[in-house]
């Protein structure tokens, strides 16, 4: 039978001696790594939830002041570790905005392919982990198998499965070859079957729907007021997607839809993510079939791009350019100003606010973390629900601890 919301008891009322405190500690399988909730419960109903975060705060922003624009991409990778290349694309998008560099069409298409692959990657983990937390282990294994294929694609392009640090200022680390294109095509062909399998397992599953429907409802006004973006806001009816509203990379060339829902509950967020995966697949298919030729890095005479290995060893100008960029206390000049830029990452609007003082290091590299902002809405979503719904709501919000704490 469907769950009913119980009237919560206010913490200051005289009946409050019935309330007890439970620590949903930082080490818990369902908290998606290190976040802590101090719950005040009335029996099984949550009366108040106070989040305690910072258990993975590693000083990313302080490191941003110490590493140059090409080195910091390795750190930015480790922020939203579920979709690593998306963070790199965001970082270099903003750095190139600051430096005023326009990247080549081939680079734009390749970055778009990676951004959409990472969107599928993130949504697969989110759906898989949400299913795992509710007990549907098979969906988790199916999702992880597809993620292994995406890891293979990343490895073909850059050499590392995970955290490839693939983008550079003005381009990419390496260009891609034929086997990359073949792998992407194979993925595009094989993914819809898994998607259909997971849909068949979960979408009309009575238990799944009962546990997700009307749990954690976020209204449209609340979503806007509380700065929510991404699938969470779109599931509440806010029709905003940075890929369409402020097109970046090559999104203008592709035909895709923006998926929105009006329910605002966990089921709506799940359905939005499932459909977004299919739209991403469409974009990847269009991009890989129309991949432009040309060079991947910006004009090799520019001061910001590393020349390729062949010319570095063969020509003196390239060697000098290589030296000027790599050696410490040299590097490229940047304008002395500040800029904010953002992309549509799988969790929402991932932006960077870079303050530059003219050197090759950022003076201040601030991340606008979608997970941090979305976790702030969690206490309001969970009031009145039961302990078993905490897991559902947390999963649907897609909180990544490293982005939450930085």
């Amino acid at each position: 039978m469907p769950l009913e919301l119980v009237e919560p008891i206010a913490p200051e009322s005289p009946e409050k001696e019935y309330l007890w405190t439970l620590n949903f500690g930082p080490q818990h399988p369902a908290t998606h790594t290190t976040l802590r909730l101090i719950l005040t419960l009335d029996g099984e109903t949550v009366v108040k939830a106070v989040p305690d975060i910072g258990f993975l705060h590693s000083g990313f922003e302080k490191l941003g002041e110490d590493l140059n624009y090409n080195q910091y991409v390795t750190i930015v990778d480790r922020m939203n570790y579920i979709s690593p290349v998306a963070n790199e694309i965001a970082w270099h998008h903003v750095v190139e905005k600051l430096l005023g560099i326009e990247i080549t069409p081939r680079c734009k298409y390749l970055r778009t392919i990676f951004a959409e692959l990472m969107r599928i990657h993130d949504h697969l983990l989110n759906v898989g982990a949400a299913a795992l937390d509710l007990g549907a282990f098979t969906a988790f294994l199916y999702a992880f198998y597809q993620r292994e294929l995406i890891y293979d694609i990343c490895e073909t392009a850059s050499g590392q499965r995970f955290h490839p640090s693939y983008t550079r200022v003005g381009g990419l680390m390496y260009d891609v070859n034929e086997s990359f294109v073949d792998k992407v095509r194979a993925f595009v062909k094989g993914f819809p079957k898994t998607h259909a399998d997971v849909t068949r397992l979960l979408n009309r599953n009575r238990i799944f729907i009962d546990r997700m429907k009307d749990i954690g409802v976020l209204s449209k006004e609340a979503a806007i007021n509380k700065s929510c973006t991404g699938p969470i806001a779109r599931a509440s009816g806010v029709v905003r997607d940075l890929r369409k509203d402020e097109p970046y990379l090559a999104y203008k060339d592709f035909d895709f839809k923006v998926i929105c829902a009006t329910g605002g509950d966990s089921l709506a967020r799940y359905l939005v993510r499932m459909e977004e995966m299919l739209e991403s697949l469409k974009i990847i298919h269009q991009a890989i079939e129309n991949l432009p030729g040309g060079s991947v890095n910006v004009d090799s005479n520019s001061k910001v791009v590393l020349p390729d290995q062949f010319s570095t060893y063969r020509s003196i100008e390239s060697l000098i350019q290589h030296f000027e960029i790599i050696m410490p206390n040299r590097g490229f000049p940047a304008p002395v100003d500040e800029v904010y830029g953002a992309i549509e990452s799988p969790s929402g609007e991932l932006g960077f606010y870079i303050v530059s003082d003219g050197t090759e290091r950022a003076y201040r590299a601030r991340t606008r973390p979608p997970s941090f902002i979305h976790f702030a809405i969690f206490p309001d979503l969970i009031v009145g629900h039961q302990i078993s719904d905490i897991v559902v709501v947390l999963g649907s919000l897609n909180i990544i601890a490293a982005e939450l704490d930085r």
Binding site: G25, P26, Q27, H28, P29, T33, T34, G54, F55, L56, H57, S58, G59, K62, L63, T74, I75, R78, Y81, I82, L125, F140, L141, F144, Y145, R147, E148, Y151, R161, F162, H163, A401, A402, D405
Partner: protein, 198 residues
């Protein structure tokens, strides 16, 4: 706690049996904090299956596990919790420090990240990598199995003998008092250490 048997008693065949049993059923306690936690999940998933090596159930209850895999960077706010969970695990227990961040701080040489979990906790196997491939994780479990086979005992004698920590000294002891800002806080409630002489 390890049983106190005098050193004149040697139990070879029982030791071998105990080692064989323990090494082939190492139940991991995944202390996954960051990206390495995802690679740990991938190690447990269908392509690289760690269950083939006996690590069948990843129980999140420390009382039921004997192998703690610290996967990911450990921040100073998280360290007392890590120590508390380590103390909650019953003997015999081993620890694998997975990834560069848990072994030495990794890329994060900052004010908040502990530069290596082995400064505060005994570690048996270190896995380099950022993140290590699942094959490396499986190799480390195999290495730990070798270590147990070679040095394990039924009664846990080898655990009693490691009294000194092999880690570098904390920086707070090396800096001049005027240069350190010691963060007060009663971490004693988080970790139950025995007094000297017990």
């Amino acid at each position: 706690m390890a049983v106190d048997l005098s050193d004149s008693v040697i139990l070879t065949q029982l030791d071998r049996l105990a080692n064989w049993v323990r090494k082939n059923s190492l139940w991991p306690m995944p202390f996954g904090t960051a990206c390495c936690g995802i690679e740990l999940m991938a190690t447990g998933a269908s392509r690289h299956d760690i269950a083939r090596f006996g690590a069948e159930v990843m129980r999140f209850s420390p009382r039921q596990c004997d192998l703690m895999i610290v996967a990911g960077r450990v921040v100073m706010k998280m360290l007392p919790i890590l120590q508390r969970i380590w103390l909650q695990m019953p003997e015999p227990k081993w620890c694998i420090s997975m990834g560069a961040c848990a072994s030495s701080g990794g890329v994060f040489d900052t004010y908040a990240v502990v530069q290596g979990v082995d400064r505060f906790m005994p570690v048996d196997v270190y896995i380099p990598g950022c993140p290590p491939r699942p094959e490396q994780v499986i190799q480390s479990v195999i290495d730990l199995q070798e270590k147990i086979r070679k040095t394990g005992t039924l009664i846990g004698k080898e655990f009693r003998e490691r009294k000194a920590s092999e880690a570098p000294l904390p920086l707070a002891l090396e800096l001049a008092p005027t240069e350190t800002v010691i963060s007060p806080g009663d971490f004693a409630t988080g970790t139950r250490l025995r007094d000297e002489g017990q």
